[in-house]
Amino acid sequence: MLTLLFILFAGMAIGCGLAVVAQRNPLYSAISLVGVFISLACLYVMLAAPFIAAVQVIVYAGAIMVLVVFVIMLLNVEQEERGRNRLKFLVPTAVVLAAVLIAEVAFILFSVTNPTPAVSNIGLSSSIGTQLFTRYLLPFEITSILLLMAIVGAMTLARRGGLLSNEARLIPGAQQLPRSLVDPRAAPDDLRLVETDSTVEAGHLLGIDQRNTPKD
């Protein structure tokens, strides 16, 4: 019975894993990856780790992959085209070498003795919680600081521009602007001038709402 379940979930995991690599549309890869995560969660339940299984579904399948699917939808990523200027032998070589690696690992794994499996109680939330808050408290706290770093980093990366404050206004007339304000790819100390012919054009370039500028 357990063997049957293992074969089912392992087959699902490997099938979805192959689908992740073989699909050309990244959205289908993402959906297959969610399938991998869910089958791995079922395997964790078989391995007496129900808490880790639930956390896997909540964190990986429910949060990280939602973020990835969001990004795929927002950036409107298309399918990969067939290999244009790639080395033609790369894909078959990768597959052959992967098969060799699997054969090596399988040989090593099946020539050692196995420990006896036993039904255990170690995966319950109470035992994990006890260990996490007493003996392994330091990694836990450092992980929370790591998450704080990730939040700050993600928010910094997501901000657009920002050289001009929200209260910036344009004084009417023909403008001369430093290039660094106008072109986001120029260096911040690039002071070559950009000449505009009217206040409206300068407003467009800087992204300032013209209705807030004072009239003569």
């Binding site: 289908y28 959906i31 969610v34 129900p50 808490f51 399948a61 429910g62 699917v69 969001f70």
Partner: protein, 350 residues
């Protein structure tokens, strides 16, 4: 593993739970239309059957017989997969709720617990499956190849993942009080004492936060901007018709039902009816029946609150909604955890 009798009992339990859920949801749809009608000064549908009681079956017939339109340029596989994911995620949470105590079938000696599956991580399981439900909406919005659907889908899923945080955090106070994630044990801890040990008395702030987050999580008014008809046509299910739309509709109401059941289990004492101990003794069939009915009454109370709020409040704008979720609900939930932890530390009275 188990004997054949256990497997048969499990299947019977799953079937009964399924039928009960579908019936309650069907009549919730009818009740919503009637109650909204009364709030708005009109009668709801009352033609089909006595007082409109057969209306859900008429609706079902209509959904089955309608023409199924699939948009031309949509990705077919994902388009069909999305309502399936939404409905599956909504239905899969049914199995961990305890509908009643252990009952003994009369004339036999079989005792069956009135919960389909007894996990010791029941609450985490519910949170996990709710997270999976977001995929149904996102994939529906994307695969319809329609800009209103895409906007509705993205907004709706952004709202759902933001309020999932507040939902989970507001439940941590209850978990700290109960000391376990097992829903059946949480209900057992609230039994006896005739309703004075229900967790709502110990966690009022948590209860309010949970209800607000739950309404946002199920995309209901006042948080239903992504699927409101006046805003985005119909949001992510614009391009769905007939049975697939029925599945989305069903998934939304089943989500409402699930969330109400969770609120009842965690805050209102589950199947505990206050003064039942003086009349019936525990373990008999009648006790179980009355307890299950009590559970149903409490869930219906929550569903009525949902419908009442729908008829009364205006809806949030999307930036107000996100502002509320992140800047007001999340700090309040953290404050709730902090207060609960402090009180438990100083007064270990549980």
């Amino acid at each position: 593993m188990d004997t054949a009798l256990d497997i048969v009992l499990k299947f019977a339990a799953i079937t009964v739970a399924f039928v009960v859920v579908l019936l309650v949801v069907a009549y919730t749809v009818l009740a919503e239309r009637r109650v909204l009608g009364f709030i708005q000064g009109r009668l709801g549908p009352n033609r089909v059957g006595p007082g409109g009681l057969f209306q859900p079956f008429a609706d079902l017939l209509k959904f089955i017989l309608k023409e199924d339109i699939v948009p031309d340029k949509s990705t077919r596989f994902v388009y069909v997969l999305a309502p399936v994911i939404a409905t599956m995620a909504a239905l899969m949470t049914m199995i961990v709720y305890p509908f009643g105590p252990e009952i003994r079938i009369p004339f036999t000696s079989i005792t069956i617990p009135l919960v389909v599956a007894h996990f010791d991580i029941g609450l985490l399981y519910v949170l996990g499956i709710t997270s999976i439900g977001v995929y149904g909406i996102m994939l529906a919005g994307w695969s319809s190849n329609n800009k209103y659907s895409l906007m509705g889908g993205l907004r709706s899923s952004a709202q759902m993942i933001s309020y999932e945080l507040a939902l989970g955090l507001s439940l941590i106070g209850v978990i700290m009080l109960a000391g376990t994630l097992d829903l059946a044990q949480i209900v057992d801890l609230q039994s006896g004492w005739h309703g004075t040990r229900w967790f709502i008395l110990f966690q009022p702030l948590g209860f309010v936060l949970y209800m607000i987050a739950a309404i946002a999580e199920t995309n209901r008014v006042p948080f239903d901007l992504p699927e409101a008809e006046t805003e985005l046509v119909a949001g992510f299910h614009t391009e769905y018709s007939a049975m697939k739309f029925a599945l989305f509709f069903l998934a939304e109401y089943i989500n409402m039902f699930t969330v109400s059941m969770l609120a009842t289990t965690l805050f209102l004492g589950g199947w505990n009816v206050p003064f039942i101990d003086t009349f019936l003794e525990r373990g008999t069939f009648l006790f179980g029946l009355v307890s299950a009915l009590g559970f149903l009454v409490k869930v219906i109370f929550f569903l009525f609150m949902y419908i009442w709020i729908r008829g009364t409040l205006p809806r949030f704008r999307f930036d107000q909604l996100m502002n509320f979720g992140w800047k007001i609900l999340l700090p309040l939930a953290l404050l709730n955890i902090f207060l609960t932890a402090t009180i438990i530390y100083f007064f270990p009275n549980f």
